[in-house]
Subunit: 322 residues, 2 copies
Amino acid sequence: MSKSLFVSMAFLLFAGSALAGQPYGLVIHGGAGNVTRERVAAAGEKAYRAGLEQALAAGYAILEGGGSAVDAVEAAVRSMEVNPLFNAGVGATLTRDGTHELDAAIMDGRTLKAGSVAGIQHVKSPVGLARLVMEKTPHVMMIGEGAEAFGKAQGLELVPNDYFRTPAQWEAYRKLKASQASPTTKDTVGAVALDRRGNLASATSTGGMLDKLPGRVGDAPLIGVGTYADNRTCAVSCTGWGEFFIRTVVAYDISAQMAYTGAPLAKAAQASLDKAMKLGGDGGLIALDAQGHMTMPFNTKGMFRAFHLSEGGTGVKLFGTE
Amino acid sequence: MSKSLFVSMAFLLFAGSALAGQPYGLVIHGGAGNVTRERVAAAGEKAYRAGLEQALAAGYAILEGGGSAVDAVEAAVRSMEVNPLFNAGVGATLTRDGTHELDAAIMDGRTLKAGSVAGIQHVKSPVGLARLVMEKTPHVMMIGEGAEAFGKAQGLELVPNDYFRTPAQWEAYRKLKASQASPTTKDTVGAVALDRRGNLASATSTGGMLDKLPGRVGDAPLIGVGTYADNRTCAVSCTGWGEFFIRTVVAYDISAQMAYTGAPLAKAAQASLDKAMKLGGDGGLIALDAQGHMTMPFNTKGMFRAFHLSEGGTGVKLFGTE
């Protein structure tokens, strides 16, 4: 055996039992609640595309390097949490009281372990906190001050609540207060990934719905509703009017259709979304199966979304007409 | 037409389109976490049986009178919330910090509307608050102070946190602190009902797991996990080590099996419980379908449980050997 071949083989082994021929990839969304040309015009379409590309690159680099799907979805979501254009972390929408309350979840499709947080006001990265709940507690879901005390004990960075505030979200809140119109911001950010070992993961993070009552929790942090991953079926992250997603348990319903009826991913995802939307509301979702198929259905004017698949190319899209 | 026949027919119409021949009934549980002869000995087996009978009677009377499944499950759960023997409301277990944080949910299988609360410290009836979230807000889930502020605004009774404390739960907490043993209290109370109009409903309420980190939320208030109801399939309420129920979305998984594979209720419920228990933990559940079939599987030594079915008799059971 030549020395270079030996080195190559050793590298492959070192890369950690990545499966030869195993497709991998990442799909992300930046919300489907209010993706209109008017909204996008303020910061410019380029800024939204760049934000999605940056989040996509952060997660995809991890997958390419042989990293885990869990690490990839966390990295992609963290990137959108610090981006003021998306309704998660910085740029979160406001509650009826003018405060920020953030929700997030993450799930590992290999182990079915999951972490979830809601009502977060001071932990800088809600998805990072959700990951620690998954890995450092016997629990799945933690909320409010208890969740933040745990995060603080774990050494996470705390910020004042107005760290999350942006002029654009404040303006939307002020306008809504003045007009008594219906809230339009119901965005979420999320990511689903398949890694080189064939493991799926999902993560979601959100500021929730504009003008929500303080204490309201949407679908994003609910395992099986806004976030789910199971290696045997798929990984899903939802966005939209969460109440309607909760009542039909959208993410798990997709997984269940695949498991119990053998439905392919895209068909199952569309059926589950349709079922929720029949009750009311609007929104969309992204999903990826263990064979690397993706789907990104939505019934809104647009959904910020991007994908990079080892066997399916890459793309960034905003509107429904693309 | 004779006058008496006319009166009878008018009464049937007045009873509100109750379906002739429609079976109806109620199944309740008072937890499966720690049902042993040792635990039951303290208050006496009779007291537990009387508590279950009282909750059963409160809910069944509503069904018999033509009332709704939603009203019946709320009444049954309220009865167990004020009973100090069960881990919900008065008698709730303690967090690691020695406080009480209560969770509850309710769901209407006719409309798929649902209400859910978590991290409740002062609202006397968590299930009553969940019902108001369902009926008086555009939301499904509310947590912590925001949920309590909403309850207060709705005129609900608030109590000091130690209203929920009982000597028995305090002693269990104190013993655990002294011994560093594993917590054994993971009980929940719940009810599922089918009314004379063929509508299903489910409700669950709990103090959660003894020694839980403050902020921890279990399966009980999560729609699709500890609580679910859909007229087309079934109504479910779970009890046990919630983290394992969350990861496999137990309640909705039962509904999904029935919808997608045509599995009968008992088979679907056992399969879903087995799937969760394969991951770890222990527990049980109660479920009822639209034809009035019930099932009450558990993998613990016992589960406080009782049923009254218009076409299936009535019974109260505590242990696995009954």
